[in-house]
Symmetry: C3
Subunit: 397 residues, 3 copies
């Protein structure tokens, strides 16, 4: 697309009315056209920023961020997205122990939201908890809005939960779309989402789950590869299978990294913890059994260490399509000989893909901003038109 | 009121010139018309936000927040108030031990205020300290402004001190005014500010003191109820008595919660620590006697536990006016069977009043914004008029 | 200067094109005209703020702050500078241990900079590290911009490194220029940068180094005084010598505070740690030898204590030019009998100079804003003209 009008026309051709005044939890809860609206708007916002057209749609308003796990990248992406739209970020900085569910969530959610237009939450540490907590918050503010407490309903954006990592995988996907010259070129392409060795422990499952839950919707052949014992949520696998069938692609599994990489157009090698282990950890945490958690950690590290050969090596890369599959990672990667002795990827592979990897990450602020935008405006295309006509420069010129 | 002009007309009928370039420490340091100006402007700002009229009066500027005690609600209220006016919040995050009085306060206050239009402080932990500290800060920046250091004089807003909690009780009061259909309907109404049992310790006295210091000004019958030993500052009681006499209401005390609730139109059951104990704690803290503080805490919890029957039960609520007094709380409440085993209020009572309680809290950002606004503009009514004419939408439409 | 046009004319007479899209590390890496451009623009921005003309040049954008050492003053100065230009500050709050050099810096710098227009870093604790780290960050984002990752190149502002403290000493210098009625009046003036006793340990060398590296450029007689063993970086001394020769001033050294103060027009008495000790500390830190660091601390405090007579007393002040040299300090000062028993300066001296000291500090936000401004706009004078014509009030009037 060459002009803002192209993006506006595209938006006008899509159906996504249900996104208005709604939230974004899981990609598979959204229709294909809704996802396409997010991609289109993200590209439009980027186009505007590159052309120095201000995308400030709020004169005032807050974006509340709740990070129940440390985060730099996602925190900055959310801050950037809010800033781009004119919202000021305010962190709700609660110690893990201070947050309880139920009554307290309901109250706190309303108390911080009197001026909130958006709420971004990252809560990925415990199986069965993160997504549930996000729904509690979203329900609380929706009720507060219905009951006349909140003048506006803040939209909730899932910045990573125990099930999905929609802002990450949507950014990954937008990167793929651009690299392959359009979503129409993805049919039949092979993407390998594979486990890789890492010396660290307990990495969330939300990325591999998010990838198989989203990438199966574009007619691609999606392969999930991992050693035995590193299964992901069965529910998400069911989603992946259904998606593949509908989109004319495929979803297959293998316990061989080599098989997954063979002729792949795209590879996404990344460590994660076994689902069963994460469930056990959640249980131990619930009981406050920190000794048990320590034990589990040791077991998991020993288990990981059995699969050090699961690494994205130059040799494996050579087996991909023309030896140059697009290498993806959500970053930071465990790079062998750089950030650790043995890790997810060879340093030379990582080096070669650094620019595309950073580019991949650069879509996230736009994806988040697009999700907020689509929830706040009944006719986003008309608002883009207004912004174009207003033509306020982002940086004075 | 139906139009912004109504609020403007109301403001033009009030005398509040002394608020310009001034600060807000204690409600009883302000005249009736000054308080009415705060209520009127708070309502006007809310009206504008509800009608999507931007209230941004600052293109740039900082709002400095100093919280010497943990806070979520007040922090977000201050952030929201600043944001609504166009100020960016910057936290002065000093550990308790790092702040000293005197020379250091003078210097730090100036160093953080070069671009500050407002300073919000919460400092309620030690008797005789919080309000004093706020005055030190306000004096320092006033002097800095006089001496040509600071281009503008930041206005200080007391976000809770050892004596008063003006932004809380002004929000409570605005809620009452709206619930009763106007300040003119409050004469002769009975409000019970009563102590209630809580399993936690050392809650500040600023709320009960703020309530009796403010609510006695509207012709209401204000009853302060608490067990023996839970007295509040005598100086504030003197204020309450004088207010009641002047306003044609009354100020009475009782050691019976039942007596206070009987036929009350409004009830405000809430735990607080005994004044004498807080003084002792301040003294122990000054000496660094942490063992002594631990001892005192135990004593106070034991003392509290003697009065577990001081709770806002369904039975007590039935004895209020028509069985449906307006229930107030500054939140969070200790709810029996929810946030604690036995606490300040029955769960069913709290549930029934949840929406009004949240509404009560929702006035605080507007009250704070109004306090800042009145201190920054010589003719606030004219500025409202300008904002109406400018008619910039808060959210692009 | 009396009108904004005067500042614009002045800027138009200076050559500083190389500052565009560049960074600010050390004052001696900049030409005289470049420094004059910073002073001129800082004064212009102050003039505009005093005349209620908005200096907001960004509709949106982030200013990233990285403080690897505690800071209140510089933090607020950076926040104020960003706010004045329309940038929202986002802190990169990394624990010391979390930041590694090399690969990680490159990645993190890009990840936080997608929407960043400025990055401010304070990293002064370890010899040979701080400035190096800043260059790593600046190189990373410059490369990211070149490679199409970052739509804009954020400008890096050194908020204090192991070598220089350019925003501080530029603010000090602007203060001197104003106090002496213009840079043209400084030729032949004597300035004494002298060590002074402090009961605390390990104060950075960046201020004395920054002072001799900058103040030698204006034809002044710069004297560096310290007890034996408190030498500064030889490389910076070489810079000072070369500067003095070029500017027609002088750079001399003495081990006598009295000699330095004699007939001085300006005195800057301030404690710092010996260069050699700081190097040893860096080495011990690198080895994780915390016992060794504790030992070193004791030694340094004992060494300091030998020089308690190095203090800015009333007696010494009497020996300065007409007994009233301009007293400078970067604040906070160790004031004898106030913030410590024996310190850098007599309380009565400090008191007499409080207003000028605060004024000195007040230039820092403007200096930082000017540095950012000069890096972001190809024709800053034209932008000032635009702002004047736009004539948006900072505070609505």
């Amino acid at each position: 697309m060459k002009t803002l009008q192209d993006y506006i026309d595209k938006l006008n051709s899509l159906h996504f009315k249900e996104m208005y005044e709604n939230d974004f939890f899981l990609t598979w809860e959204k229709t294909d056209e809704e996802l396409e609206a997010v991609f289109t708007l993200a590209d439009a916002l980027r186009f505007m920023r590159e052309n120095n057209i201000s995308t400030r749609v709020f004169e005032s308003g807050l974006g509340i961020s709740i990070f129940r796990d440390n985060s730099t990248r996602t925190r900055f992406s959310f801050a950037a997205a809010c800033n781009m739209l004119g919202l000021q970020v305010q962190d709700l900085d609660e110690g893990k122990s201070q947050i309880a569910h139920g009554e307290t969530v309901r109250e706190t959610a309303n108390m911080v939201s009197f001026m909130a237009d958006a709420i971004g939450i990252r809560d990925d540490m415990y199986i069965g908890k993160g997504n549930k907590y996000m729904h509690e918050v979203a329900d609380a503010v929706a009720e507060g809005h219905r009951d006349g407490i909140l003048e506006q309903k803040p939209t909730l954006v899932n910045l990573q939960c125990d099930i999905d990592h929609p802002t990450q995988v949507m950014a990954d996907m937008l990167h793929i779309i651009h690299e392959f010259g359009g979503v129409e070129n993805l049919k039949g392409k092979k993407i390998a989402m594979t486990w890789a060795y890492s010396p660290s422990y307990g990495k969330p499952l939300s990325v591999p789950q998010g990838v198989i839950g989203l990438m199966t919707r574009f007619g691609m052949d999606v392969v999930l590869a991992h050693p035995e014992g590193y299964e992901v949520f069965p529910e998400v696998e069911a989603v992946a299978r259904a998606n593949a069938e509908k989109s004319g692609g495929s979803y297959t599994k293998t316990n061989s990294m080599a098989e997954a990489f063979k002729d792949a157009d795209i590879v996404y090698p990344k460590s994660w913890a076994p689902f069963a282990a994460m469930e056990k950890r959640t249980e131990l945490y619930g009981k406050g059994d920190f000794e048990g958690i320590g034990e589990l950690e040791k077991e998991l590290l020993a288990q990981n260490a059995q699969y050090k050969d699961w690494t994205c090596s130059e040799e494996l890369m050579k087996t991909t399509k023309d030896g140059k599959a697009l290498y993806l990672h959500c970053l930071p990667a465990d790079i062998s000989g750089v950030s650790c002795k043995e890790g997810e990827v060879d340093a030379s592979v990582f080096d070669r893909y650094r620019d595309p990897l950073y580019k991949e990450a650069s879509y996230k602020p736009y994806i988040i901003a697009a999700m907020i935008f689509l929830a706040k405006f009944q006719d986003p295309a008309a608002i883009l038109k207004k912004l174009e006509e207003r033509n306020a420069p982002r940086v004075l010129k």
